[in-house]
Subunit: 331 residues, 2 copies
C-alpha cells in the first residue's frame, strides 16, 4: 500500500488537522470529528448537516461553507459516523430554525443519522432528513437497501444550501431536497480498485484488461465486468442507464462528470466530451456543467456521470454564490 | 495501461473537445490547439500566454479566464507546443499592449517559445518572456538546463494575471512575473510512476516499497529513492530543501500543497497538516493556502510543496478575483 499517511490508525485525525490548517472557512471539532462553518451563525437559518464515511473527499467536509453545508460528520474511512457525532453536529449548528440531514443511502448512515436525529429531537431540535439514492447501477448492494447515494449528493447540497441561505424554512427545504434528489441520477465505473488504509490491500481485484461498470463508491460490486474499452463506450454505458431511468428530454439539466480520485483531469475531459455528445444526440439540454473530483473513492481510478433535471428555481439556486473548498463561485 | 481514452493518438484532440464542452469561459482553436478566453478582448490589456506539454491539467488550459491567462498552447502529452502554436496564440490575444509568455524551464519549451516570440515580433507584437524554474530538487535534469519549472507557475500566472487585468504595462508585468518567480520554490515526490498514453507503460519503475524524492513532473529522476516512509517524513523532505534554498523567515508566504494527479485529497490534507506544522516551527508565516491538484503529472501518485514569498502587492494580486476552471474566487 502506497499512501501519503502517517499510519492507518491516524488517517482521520491527521486529515482533520490538515483540513483545519488549509481551509479558513471551517473549524474542526476534533473531539466529535465534525467540520463546521467558521463564520458566525445566522439566527433563523435552517442548518444543513451531512456526513458519512471518509474517503470521498471533498464530499462532505469540502462542502461546508457559505451557501452549502453547516456541518459535516466525518466517519472513519468508508464507515458511517456515529449517532453521537451526528447529535453533536446537529445541536451545534441549530439556529432555532431546524436542521436538515442530507444522508447518502447506506444502511449504516441511514440508521445512525436516524438515531442522531432522534437524540437531537429529544433535545428540542426540529430535524428533517432526506436520503439520497441517485445511483441507477443496482437496486441493492453490499451496504445498501435500495439504491446507493453517490455524487448526486453534491447537487442536492448545493441547491438546498443556497435555499437555506436565502431563508427557506425547514419543511420547504426538506421538500426541495427531496425534489432535487428525485430528479438526479448517477452511474459510475472503475478502472482500478481503491485501497482502504486499514486493510492495506485493494478492496477487490480487477484484472489489468478489465473494467467494472456500475461500481459503488466503496468498491461495492456494480453491474458487470468486461474487457476495457474506450472513453466513447464507457460514456455510453454510463449515460444510457441514466437516460433509461428518468426522462431528461424536456428539461434543463445539470451535468457532473466526476473523478473517483485517481483519474487525471485530462481523462475526465475526454469522458466529458463523449458524454456531452451522447446527451446532445439524445436531445438533453445541458444547462450547467461540472468536471472534476467531487465525490471520490480514495485512490480508485474511474469516473461517474450525474445528471439532474433542473427547473428555473433549481438552476437559480445552483447558480447562487457558494464559498466552500470543493465548490466556489460568486464569492 | 488503464485509461479513459479513445486511443493514444486522439488524446489531445478528444480532451480539447471536452474542455470546450465543459468550460464556458474558454473557446478552443482546434487547428492550432490553443485554449483562449471566450470573453471579449479588452483593448490595451497586456495578454498572458502560457502552455507546455499536456498531462499537467489544470495547468495551463484550466487557468485561462478572467484574472489569469489569455491563452494556453496545448502540446502533445509531455511534449512542447510548437512555435507555430505559440505564434498563433500570441497574435490572437495581442490587444496592442503586448504579450507576456510564461514558460516553464524545459529546453524544448524555452526554445519553442523563443521561436514563437521571434515570429510574433516580426509581425509587430511586443513580446516579453519569463521562465519559471522553481523546482529546487535538481540543477539540471532530463529535459532541462538549470532548474525545472513546476507548480510555482500557478502562483506566477495568478499574480501577474491579476496585474494585467488591472492594466499593468508589459515591462512592469514581466518584471513582476520575474519577481514572483524568483520568490517561489517547489519540491515534489512520487509514490508511483505516470504512464504516457503513447508509451503504454509506466515511464519508470518504482518498487512497491519505495518512493522518489525530488521527482520531476514528467517522471524525470529526482534526488534519490528510498523506502517509503510516512507523511511527516515526506513533508520534512519537501520543506527542508525549500527553506534551505531561500529565506522565507521575514515574509508572508503563499503555500500550495499540490497533488500529482492520482493522489486522493485525504492524503493531500494529511500532508498539508504536516507541512504547516513544519513551517510554523520554522517561523514561516503562511498567509494564503491551496491544497489540491493544480499542476499534475498524468496518473502519478505523489505530491509537491510550493512556497512563495509574498509582499503586500503580491498578496493583493493573489487575492484579486479570478474566474478559471482551476482557480476561482471573487467572481
Amino acid at each position: 500500500m502506497k499512501k501519503l499517511i502517517n499510519s492507518p490508525e491516524r488517517v482521520i485525525a491527521d486529515a482533520l488537522r490538515g483540513v483545519e490548517a488549509a481551509d479558513e472557512r471551517v473549524r474542526v471539532d476534533h473531539t466529535n470529528r465534525v467540520i463546521l462553518r467558521a463564520d458566525p451563525k445566522a439566527q433563523g437559518k435552517v442548518a444543513l448537516v451531512s456526513g458519512g464515511g471518509s474517503g470521498h473527499e471533498p464530499l462532505h467536509g469540502g462542502y461546508v461553507g457559505h451557501g452549502m453545508l453547516d456541518a459535516a460528520c466525518v466517519g472513519e474511512v468508508f464507515t458511517s459516523p456515529t449517532p453521537d457525532q451526528i447529535l453533536a453536529a446537529t445541536t451545534e449548528v441549530d439556529r432555532g430554525a431546524g436542521v436538515l440531514h442530507i444522508v447518502k443511502n447506506y444502511t449504516g448512515d441511514v440508521m445512525n443519522f436516524e438515531m442522531g436525529a432522534e437524540l437531537a429531537t429529544d433535545l428540542g431540535v426540529d430535524v428533517r432528513t432526506v436520503v439520497i439514492a441517485d445511483d441507477v447501477a443496482v437496486e441493492d448492494s453490499t451496504y445498501t437497501a435500495g439504491r446507493r447515494g453517490v455524487a448526486g449528493t453534491v447537487v442536492v447540497e448545493k441547491v438546498v444550501g443556497a435555499a437555506a441561505e436565502e431563508g427557506m424554512g425547514l419543511g420547504e427545504a426538506a421538500a426541495l431536497a427531496q425534489r432535487v434528489a428525485d430528479s438526479t441520477r448517477s452511474m459510475g465505473m472503475a478502472l482500478t480498485s481503491c485501497t482502504v488504509p486499514a486493510a492495506g490491500r485493494p478492496t477487490f481485484d480487477l484484472p489489468e484488461d478489465e473494467m467494472e461498470i456500475g461500481i459503488g463508491i466503496h468498491g461495492e460490486p456494480g453491474r458487470h465486468r468486461e474487457p476495457l474499452t474506450d472513453a466513447a463506450d464507457v460514456a455510453r454505458q454510463l449515460v444510457e442507464p441514466i437516460l433509461a431511468d428518468l426522462d431528461f428530454a424536456d428539461a434543463d439539466t445539470i451535468l457532473l462528470v466526476n473523478g473517483m480520485g485517481a483519474t487525471p483531469l485530462i481523462e475526465l475531459h475526454i469522458l466529458f466530451g463523449e458524454v456531452m455528445a451522447l446527451l446532445e444526440a439524445a436531445g438533453v439540454r445541458v444547462a450547467r456543467r461540472l468536471v472534476g473530483n467531487y465525490a471520490t473513492s480514495l485512490d480508485m481510478a474511474g469516473a461517474s456521470v450525474t445528471l439532474a433535471r433542473a427547473d428555473a428555481e433549481i438552476l437559480r439556486l445552483f447558480d447562487a454564490p457558494v464559498n466552500t473548498a470543493g465548490l466556489r463561485w460568486g464569492a
